[in-house]
């Protein structure tokens, strides 16, 4: 450690640490960013260290306050936590309190130009949690919103993590250790730096510029906005359902309206969502009809967050690991689930194996590869969905099959399950894809494609109460 730095931090030099690529008592870890990945890493890391009696310090750098409303405290996200993740978090001791869950989602309503269908929660899943990552939309009343990210950070703090409210603006290798520097001239040395900044900060760009071997994640632009409608109106119009749309709009892969308290969140995912696309979406009758009076109201808050569409390569180095969105995440869906998986794997590697690039390559990279491979399948699944969006007859077939399944309580509900998992991110894309190869699924789909498109075919659905025209 440089002499100046010792003076600055008042800490004793750690000459032996620079060579050792494992953490020991007194080692210090910097976590950059306190989104779900950063907080969960801190939580898991400190819990695991405790089990083996390792006395390590974790500093979480996060200048933002999750108690702020609006995009400043927010984290660019539709705010859906799948039931499978809710359960998995519970087994880790992370039980989401009621104040964090804005609304339990009990069904999906799929809107298409040929009708709507409601898909009820699969039997094994109770409900999906709709949450705010920050403290709610701009200008909202601070009534009962509690930040999801804020809650996770509190848990990390309870485990002993120290929150440093500073903005990290540089990370560099310095005499074998990692030096983290901040906008206000603060800098300090660490044995391990965990980057959990997501892809909406410049930090990974700076890392890329400084580190030749590293290339940051590829990104695309999405759109999120919030509508204020009031709790009562939302109960009557949207109900406890997430509304998804199968519309023939180029570059739009996924669109959902998610009710939360007094607000409804809109998330549009796809390839470089722009204003023209948003205008087309708002003009669609399927969308307008979801709102009271068939009018899309003005939104109170919007942003164009970027999402990760290809992993950072590699998402690690000596004393450096990238988790959550800034490293590897799932395509379009379940980003929080990916944050959970990558943060836990990175924590496990650091505590039980070491912090060298080789350690991360052996114990962390396999998970990243698994997620990336699944994303490739996901890309294919979404491209099939795009074909369906383009073909009216296909939409009819899918709608018909889903509606018929929803009428029969004891059926295997193959199409419903596929759609549910695709929308909620509850299952891997590979799993979803494999289910669509099942002969029963293929057969039933073919049957529905034919029957739904025969003259009079649509008539038969009218009375079933699920398909709504």
């Amino acid at each position: 450690m440089a002499e100046g730095l010792e003076l600055l931090t008042g800490k004793a030099p750690k000459p032996n640490k620079a060579e050792a690529m494992t953490l020991g008592d007194g080692s210090r870890v910097a976590v950059i960013g306190a989104g779900p990945a950063g907080s969960m890493f801190s939580y898991f890391f400190l819990s695991m260290a405790e089990t083996i009696g390792l006395d390590v310090g974790v500093d979480v750098f996060e200048p933002r306050r999750f108690c702020h409303r609006g995009p400043a405290g927010c984290n660019h996200c539709g705010g859906i936590v799948s039931e499978s993740l809710v359960q998995r978090l519970a087994t880790e001791g992370i039980k989401l309190p009621d104040c964090v869950v804005q609304r339990g989602i009990e069904s999906y309503i799929l809107h298409t130009d040929v009708g709507d269908v409601e898909i009820a929660t699969p039997l094994m899943e109770k409900r999906i949690a709709a949450i705010y990552r920050g403290n709610g939309p701009r200008s909202s009343e601070p009534l009962d919103t509690h930040s999801f990210d804020g809650y996770l950070l509190e848990l990390a703090e309870q485990k002993g993590a120290r929150v440093i409210p500073r903005l990290v603006t540089g990370v560099r290798r310095d005499e074998g250790l990692m030096t983290v520097s901040c906008a206000d001239q603060f800098s300090d040395a660490y044995d391990l730096v965990v980057v959990a900044t997501g892809v909406n900060s410049r930090l990974t760009e700076m890392l890329e510029n400084e580190t030749a071997e590293f290339s940051r994640a590829d990104r695309t632009k999405t759109f999120i906005c919030e509508f204020f409608l009031g709790r009562e109106v939302i109960r009557e119009t949207f109900g406890p359902s997430m509304h998804v749309f199968l519309l023939d709009i180029p570059r739009l892969e996924f669109a959902a309206l998610i009710p939360k308290g007094d607000y409804v969140t809109l998330a549009l995912l796809g390839d470089d969502i722009d204003e023209a696309l948003i205008d087309r979406f708002f003009a669609a009758p399927e969308v307008r009809n979801c709102f009271p009076g068939g009018q899309v109201p003005g939104h109170v808050c919007h942003c164009y967050p970027r999402i990760n569409i290809r992993s950072a390569t590699p998402a690690y180095g000596d004393r450096l690991v990238l988790i959550g969105d800034s490293g590897t995440t799932r395509l379009f869906k379940d980003g929080i689930g990916a944050a959970y998986r990558t943060s836990k794997a990175a924590a496990k590697t650091a505590v039980f194996h070491g912090v060298s690039a080789e350690d991360f390559s052996n114990y962390y990279a396999p998970l990243c590869r698994k997620i990336s491979n699944d994303n490739r399948v996901g890309k294919f699944v979404f491209s099939v969905a795009t074909l369906v969006q383009k073909a009216r007859f296909a939409r009819r077939g899918i709608l018909n099959m889903t509606a018929n399944e929803q009428l029969q309580e004891d059926s295997p509900r193959r199409m419903s399950g596929v759609l549910w998992d695709l929308f909620s991110g509850s299952a891997s894309y590979t799993d979803v894809f494999l289910r669509t190869l099942h002969p029963a699924y293929v057969g039933l789909l073919l049957w529905n494609l034919v029957s739904a498109n025969l003259p009079g075919g649509r008539k038969a659905q009218k009375g079933n109460g699920h398909v709504r025209h």
Binding site: P71, R138, S201, R202, I278, F282, V296, G298, C301, Y304
Partner: protein
């Protein structure tokens, strides 16, 4: 109006539009500073020095140079100013206002100890000469600003030594004379002439002066003391506060006896009471309203109390009882507070029948000052305040400032002197008149996100031990912040209304719309491409200092 964009063929309000221009706003400290100093500017030079490659010494030098652009006497005002700038500091309710006054004093002392020099006087002088009447803070400020603009300045004063009230009325324990001398000498050292012991209207008429100089500034002060107007006031033992303080500073016999009553509630009354305590008198200060209405600075009142000054509030003298020439007693009427008067303070009213008598050897009357000049020409009328325009202009090429406009603090006088000089220079050079008020809009309340900033306790001004105060009657009580304290205190400034490079907009703009400029300076760190704006307003919400904000789109 926020920005509008067309959506579905209709105009839709976008919540925020950010556009590429400077968003600088006037911070509350500067809005409240009567000399309109660039407080945020000189604190920022110190706080952000490392971003500009300055050592701490260099930063202190530069900060001093920034201060003296506005105020050539920071070591003086850093000691005596009641610092209204600190009242509305955004840090006030967090962990205490930034100690602006103590910082000013530190930098003032730094400038003196380092021998820093005021800006150079231009080689090329203007042909016009300027006459300045008086040598108090307004006159010195005016003279300084004109000298550095290239005018030959002559100062006329009726006293032997320059400084006006700063020299005669501020006790040494608040403002050591060496400090005042150092700062005045530095101003006079810019090549101006000082003509002492000249009384305008007596030795020289104003008209004569205006014939001699192309432009004249009147900084006559308010030299006459207001009287009580009660029976028994005539005769020995009733001493005007200013006269008492002046005699003490000149080490003359004040003739105040053992038992002193001070009448008044302003800083002069407190200075007189504390000075009398230093001469071993027992002192009671009588004020007709209650303590909270006192115009004196609260900590001065507190210090006076610690030094043993007794206070009698809600009391007014009605009669001075003499035994021959000698004062024996003062009859005092008990008062209560009635309805608020024009300045919002509750008016004192007599409580019928409640009178008592206090023993006294002398009475120091410090109930404000009045004009003290002679009739001279059409401008100076004995006993009437001067009433110039806002920039100090009385007539063409005749300006005024300071206490001759009505009593005020030194910082106000310095501001008036500077404004008058700016206007005078414009008039002499045929330039457009400079704006009186800063161009930037005032920072809107609550736009600073106080909780972004880490807690940092306000530096404690070092003081001498209380037990030593009266034992060393002329020695200063408050001391200067240390070298290290000053840099820590500067770092507490939140830079309200001006970018200080927190980098959050730069780091978090989804579009990456902010780029760092090559040559940075406080306030200038990033450029923003308006056409990159996606209108989410995140940068505005993140900006802790209220610099970025939602504004109308200019075309």
């Amino acid at each position: 109006m926020s920005g509008t964009k067309t959506r579905h063929g209709e105009a839709v309000e976008l919540p925020f539009q950010v556009y590429a221009r400077q968003f600088e706003k006037l911070p509350p400290c500067q809005a409240r500073c009567p000399s309109s100093g660039d407080i945020r500017g000189w604190l920022g030079i110190i706080a952000q020095r490392e971003k500009h490659g300055l050592s701490l010494d260099e930063a202190y030098d530069k900060a001093w140079q920034r201060i003296v652009e506005f105020n050539p006497m920071p070591a003086t005002t850093g000691r005596i100013c009641p610092h209204p700038c600190e009242d509305l500091c955004s840090r006030q309710d967090k962990d205490g206002a930034v100690s602006i006054n103590a910082m000013e004093r530190f930098l003032g002392d730094w400038g003196i100890s380092r021998g820093l020099t005021l800006p150079d006087v231009p080689h090329q002088r203007h042909p016009e000469t300027v006459g300045v009447v008086g040598s108090g803070p307004a006159s010195l400020s005016f003279a300084y600003q004109m000298a550095i603009r290239g005018y030959a300045v002559t100062i006329y004063d009726r006293d032997e030594r320059p400084g006006g009230m700063l020299r005669h009325a501020i006790p040494d324990y608040r403002l050591p004379r060496e400090v005042l001398d150092a700062e005045i000498d530095r101003i006079l050292g810019l090549g101006m002439a000082l003509v002492s012991s000249v009384d305008i209207g007596e030795d020289l008429t104003l008209d004569q002066l205006r014939e001699k100089h192309e432009l004249v500034f009147l900084g006559l002060g308010a030299q006459a003391a207001r009287r009580l107007g009660i029976p028994g006031e005539e005769g020995p033992g009733v001493i005007p506060g200013i006269e008492f303080l002046r005699k003490r500073k000149e080490r003359q016999d004040t003739g105040c006896g053992r038992n002193v009553l001070v009448i008044g509630g302003g800083n002069t009354a407190i200075d007189a009471a504390r000075s009398a305590r230093r001469d071993g008198c027992s002192v009671t200060l009588i004020y007709r309203r209650s303590e909270s209405e006192m115009p004196a600075t609260a900590h001065e009142v507190e210090d006076a109390r610690r030094e043993g000054v007794e206070f009698r509030f809600l009391a007014a003298p009605t009669r001075i009882i003499r035994d021959g020439d000698r004062i024996r007693q003062v009859e005092v009427q008990a008062m209560r507070l009635g309805d608020p008067d024009s300045d919002g303070r509750r008016r004192p009213e007599a409580i019928a029948g409640q009178l008592d008598c206090l023993a006294a050897d002398s009475i120091i009357v410090a109930i404000s000052q009045e004009p003290g000049w002679h009739n001279s020409g059409a401008v100076l009328e004995a006993g009437a305040w001067l009433r110039p325009a806002d920039d100090g202009r009385l007539q063409d090429k005749l300006f005024a400032g300071g206490d001759d406009l009505g009593p005020g603090i030194a910082s106000r006088a310095i501001g008036q002197g500077r404004h008058a000089a700016e206007s005078a220079h414009a008039e002499l050079r045929g330039l457009p008149q400079p704006p009186l008020h800063p161009n930037s809009p005032l920072l809107t309340q609550d736009s600073v996100k106080v909780d972004y900033y880490a807690d940092r306790q306000r530096s404690q001004t070092p003081r001498r031990r209380e037990s030593s105060w009266l034992a060393n009657p002329d020695r200063e009580i408050d001391l200067t912040l240390s070298y290290a304290q000053a840099s820590e205190e500067a770092a507490r400034c939140m830079s309200c209304g001006l970018c200080f490079d927190c980098q959050q907009c730069f780091m978090y703009c989804n579009r990456g719309g902010f780029t760092r400029v090559e040559e940075t300076s406080p306030g200038k760190y990033f450029a923003f491409a308006m056409d990159a704006c996606e209108g989410c307003g995140k940068c505005i919400e993140l900006c802790p200092c209220g610099y970025l904000e939602d504004r109308d789109v200019l075309t």
